[in-house]
Symmetry: C2
Subunit: 491 residues, 2 copies
C-alpha cells in the first residue's frame, strides 16, 4: 500500500520534505495556511524533479499523489509520518502538536524540522510526546542526505527504529544523536562560522566573496568528503590523531577567534553584507543560483558515488534497495521471460550528463550502455567477487547509432540481446528507449580476459553456461535494426 | 628559460609546494636539514603525480628538475620564488630570512606558509622585508587551489603582482587579503569549528564519526561549491540577503555555542578522540586515506569544472593558458602541417576515468574522442559563439576499436583525420595514442544541425570552407586501419 506523509508548514523546508516523500513514491498531504503555500511548494518540487531522480543510478518508484488540505485533521488522516516545519516559536509548535494528538494515527512518527529546540522542549506537556522526535534536515532537503534525529526517553525504541527506517527509505541518512542539546550538532558549527564571518566583514578584513572563496577553494572541498576529524587524521600522518592534537591543540589558546562577543547587527553591517553579496552574486537570480547549486551538488555527489564514498556511498546503498522495484534481475535465472531482450538499465538521465547542445552527450550514451553491459555481466555471474578472483570481460569494439535526443530527467531503459555468446566471446546488442521511443542502439564485442595476464581466456564454466543459456533463448529473436552496420553504410 | 623555486622546509606542506612547482615545469631546489626530507617529499610527490596532472583537461608542461641542497645559499641560487615552510616559531623564521637576505636574488618573492603569523611580524627588522609575504596554502597543496596572500605596506605593488602571477601560473588562486590579522581568514573558521567539535566530544554529545557525518552529508557539500554567503543568499530567496539576516541574525544571541572557553586537552579527551578516530577510520592506512581523499577531491573538482563553477572554473581558466603549450591550434589556419591528421587532444588520464578493471573505462574513451571532435569543431569555426547562434554538429554514428589498455596518469594524444567533409556531413577518424602506442580509434559520422528545428541543415559558408580545406588536405592520406569496419568483420 502506498505510504502517506503529512507536511505541516510548507516553504522551502516543508517543500523539500514533500519532494523527498513524493519522488520516493509516497502520497503527500500538505497543511499550510499560507495562501502562497501551493506556489512555494511547487517551485521546490520543480527543482527537485529536475535534480533528484538522476542523483542515483536507479529509477525511483512512480511519484505519489500530492494534495493540499484546509484542515489539519484532514491532512493527517491515515498517515505514517507527519513532518512539522512551522516557524520556530515553541508555543506555536505546541499548539500544532495538541491538534495532532486528536487525529494522527498512533503508529505514526511526528518529526520536527526545528533547528533550535530540543525534543524534550517539544514534548513537554504533550499527550503524544512518545511520537514526537526532532528530524532536522538541510537545505536543499531534496538533495542533501543528512537528518539529525534527536529523541528522548519518552520515545520508545519502536518509534526511533521506524523513524530511521523511513528516513533511510527516502534516501536520507538518520544521524541519531545520543544526547539532546540546543541546535543539535551541525548548526553549532554553522553558528560558529557565521559569527566569525560577521566579525570579518564588520572589521573590514574580507568581503562576502572573499570569505566564500576562502571556504570553497580550500577546506569546503575537503569537508564535502571527509569532514573534520578524518581530514585531520590524514594531516597527522602515520603518527595518528594523538600526534595531530599535540601539534594543533596548543593553537587553541591563540587569540584567533573573536567569538566571545556577538557583533551588533547595525544597519551599516547589514548594508555592507547585502551590498557585498549583490556584487558577488547579483548577476544571477535566486532561481538561477538554486539551479547552479543543484547542478554542482548532483555533480559532486555523483563523483563521490563513483568512489563509493561519503554521501555518494549513501546514494549507492539506497540504489541497491531500488533495484528490485526497477525490474532489474539479479541473475538471468530470475528473468521472467528469457526469450526477449533483458532489461539491464532503468534510470533517469542526470544533470551531469548534458552538453552544450542541451541534450545527453554522446559519451554518456556509452556510459549507460556500459552500465547495461556491467549489469548483464553480473546477471551471468561475472560479478564483483568473480572479478576480484581474476576474470572479467573487456570491450574490444563498439558501434553506436544515435537515433534521437534525450534530456535530463528523462526515464530511460536499456534492453540487451545476446547476438552470440560462447567461449571467450560475448556479442551484445543494446537498445535504449524513453518509453517506446528508440534513442540509440549499441553493438559490442567483448572478450573474456584473465586479469593477471590481461589476455583473452575462457570464462568459468558457470559464467559460460549462463551466457549460453541466454544466447540460446535469444537465438530465435529477429536480427535487430542496425546490427552489423559500418559507418557510411546506406540506411 | 625554466623558472626556479626554492623550498625551505619539506614535510607535507613544503612537499606539496614542491609538487605544484615541479609538475608545472619549474625547477625545484630543496633545503631541509631533516634527514628524512627527501623521503617525505618524494611521498608527497608520488601522490601529486597520481592526481594533479589529470585534474584539468590539458597536459601540463614537462616536469622540472628536483634537487636537494645541504646549504641554504646553494638552494636559493638564481631563484624566482622562495617558499618558507619551517616550523611555526618566529625566531626560527627570522633566522631563515636573515640568511636569505644574503643570497636570494632581489627580484624573487619570499612566501611564507605560516598559518598564524602576520606578515608584519615576519618582516620586522628584516633587511629583505619588501620581498616577504604570507602565501598560506591548504593541504593537499597539490590539489586545493587556495592561497591566502597577505602583504604589508613594506611590499611594493610589483612584489604583490609578481606573487599573484606566479601563484596563478601554477594553477592556484591568490586570495589577497586587504588587512593582516592573526590566522588570516580560513583558519579562523577552522579554529571555531575545531573548538566546538572538541566540546561536543568532551561532553559526550557526538563521536568523531558522527561529527564528520554531520559535516560531510550536509553543509560540507554546500560549502565546496558556494561557500557561506552565497549559500545563505539562496536560502534567503528572492527577498535577498537583508531578509535572510533579519531571519537568522537574532539566533546569534541564542546560547548555541560553547566557544567562550577552551576545553582542556586532558589525557581523557585526547584518548577519546584518538580511540573514536581509530574506530571510524582505522581500517584504512593513512596512505590509503590520502588516496581516497585525492580521488574524491579530483572527482568533485572535475564535477565543478563540468559546470565551470568554483574551484572547477579556476581549473578551466588555467587549462586555457596551457592550450598553446599542449600544441593544440585555435583554428585550422594555424595548423603547421595540414597534410597530416590534426592534434585535437593532449591530456592526462584523470583518476575518475578508471573502472573496476583498473583501466580507463570505455565511456571515457568516447569522452576523450568527443572532446577531440569538439576541439576540431572549434578549429573550423563551430565554436561557442557559433553554437549560441543556432548551429552545431550532432554525432549520428560512432565506431570504436579498443586496441590497448591505458591507466590513470598516462599522457594521451588524439590526432584527427577528416575522411569526408562537405555539405551537412562530417566524417572523422580519430586515433588515440600514449606516445607511439595506439590505444583506440574512433570513427564518427556527424551531421550539421539547426538547433532551433533540431534537423540537419547546412553549416555557414565559413565553417564549410574550413572543413573542406582540411578534407582536401587530408584527401591524400592513406585509408586508416579499421576505417569502415563493422563489428564481427574479420581483422
Amino acid at each position: 500500500m502506498t505510504k502517506r506523509a503529512a507536511i505541516i508548514g510548507g516553504g522551502v523546508i516543508g517543500g523539500g520534505w514533500a519532494a523527498r516523500f513524493l519522488l520516493n513514491g509516497w502520497d503527500v498531504r500538505v497543511f499550510d495556511p499560507d495562501p502562497e503555500a501551493e506556489r512555494k511548494i511547487s517551485e521546490v518540487l520543480e527543482n527537485a524533479r529536475r535534480s533528484l531522480p538522476g542523483l542515483g543510478n536507479m529509477a525511483l518508484p512512480a511519484e505519489g499523489a500530492l494534495s493540499f488540505h484546509a484542515e489539519l485533521a484532514d491532512a493527517v488522516e491515515g498517515v505514517d509520518w507527519v513532518q512539522e516545519s512551522v516557524p520556530e516559536r515553541l508555543e506555536l509548535k505546541h499548539k500544532v502538536y495538541a491538534q495532532l494528538a486528536e487525529s494522527v494515527p498512533a503508529g505514526a512518527v511526528i518529526g520536527s524540522s526545528t533547528s533550535g529546540y530540543k525534543p524534550s522542549e517539544l514534548q513537554a506537556g504533550m499527550s503524544n510526546a512518545s511520537q514526537i522526535v526532532v528530524t532536522h534536515p538541510f537545505n536543499p532537503v531534496y538533495l542533501l542526505p543528512l537528518i539529525e534525529l534527536v529523541s528522548t526517553e519518552a520515545n520508545g525504541t519502536d518509534v526511533i527504529e521506524r523513524a530511521k527506517e523511513i528516513i533511510s527509505g527516502i534516501g536520507m541518512h538518520p544521524l541519531h544523536l545520543k544526547k539532546e542539546i540546543d541546535a543539535h550538532i551541525a548548526d553549532r558549527f554553522l553558528e560558529a562560522v557565521w559569527r566569525e564571518a560577521l566579525w570579518l566583514i564588520k572589521d573590514g578584513i574580507a568581503t562576502t566573496e572573499e570569505i566564500d572563496d576562502a571556504i570553497r577553494y580550500g577546506f569546503g572541498i575537503r569537508w564535502a568528503q571527509m569532514g573534520l576529524f578524518e581530514t585531520y587524521r590524514v594531516a597527522g600522518g602515520e603518527a595518528g590523531m594523538r600526534h595531530f592534537i599535540a601539534q594543533f591543540g596548543p593553537c587553541l589558546s591563540w587569540p584567533w577567534t573573536k567569538l566571545m562577543d556577538v557583533p551588533e547587527l547595525t544597519d551599516e553591517l547589514v548594508d555592507a553584507i547585502a551590498d557585498q553579496s549583490d556584487a558577488q552574486s547579483g548577476m544571477h537570480t535566486i532561481r538561477e543560483l538554486e539551479r547552479i547549486r543543484d547542478d554542482n551538488l548532483v555533480g559532486m555527489m555523483r563523483a563521490l558515488g563513483a568512489n563509493n564514498w561519503g554521501a555518494g556511498k549513501l546514494q549507492n546503498d539506497h540504489d541497491k534497495t531500488l533495484r528490485e522495484g526497477a525490474g532489474i534481475a539479479a541473475h538471468v535465472d530470475d528473468v521472467a521471460d528469457l526469450s526477449q531482450p533483458v532489461l539491464t538499465l532503468h534510470r533517469v538521465v542526470p544533470l551531469d550528463w548534458l552538453d552544450y547542445n542541451g541534450h545527453m552527450t554522446e559519451s554518456r550514451y556509452l556510459q549507460a550502455f556500459a552500465d547495461s553491459t556491467d549489469r548483464f555481466m553480473e546477471m551471468i555471474g561475472c560479478d564483483a567477487e568473480y572479478i576480484a578472483n581474476g576474470g572479467s570481460y573487456f570491450t574490444a569494439e563498439t558501434h553506436i547509432r544515435h537515433i534521437d535526443e534525450v534530456h535530463a530527467g528523462a526515464k530511460i531503459t536499456v534492453h540487451t540481446q545476446v547476438v552470440m555468446g560462447a567461449g571467450k566471446k560475448m556479442h551484445l546488442f543494446h537498445e535504449m528507449r524513453e518509453g517506446e521511443r528508440l534513442l540509440a542502439s549499441a553493438e559490442h564485442m567483448l572478450l573474456h580476459v584473465d586479469l593477471a595476464t590481461r589476455r583473452a581466456a575462457p570464462p568459468s564454466a558457470e559464467v559460460e553456461a549462463a551466457l549460453v543459456k541466454v544466447a540460446s533463448a535469444h537465438a530465435g529473436l529477429s536480427k535487430p535494426e542496425g546490427l552489423g552496420r559500418a559507418i557510411g553504410d546506406p540506411r
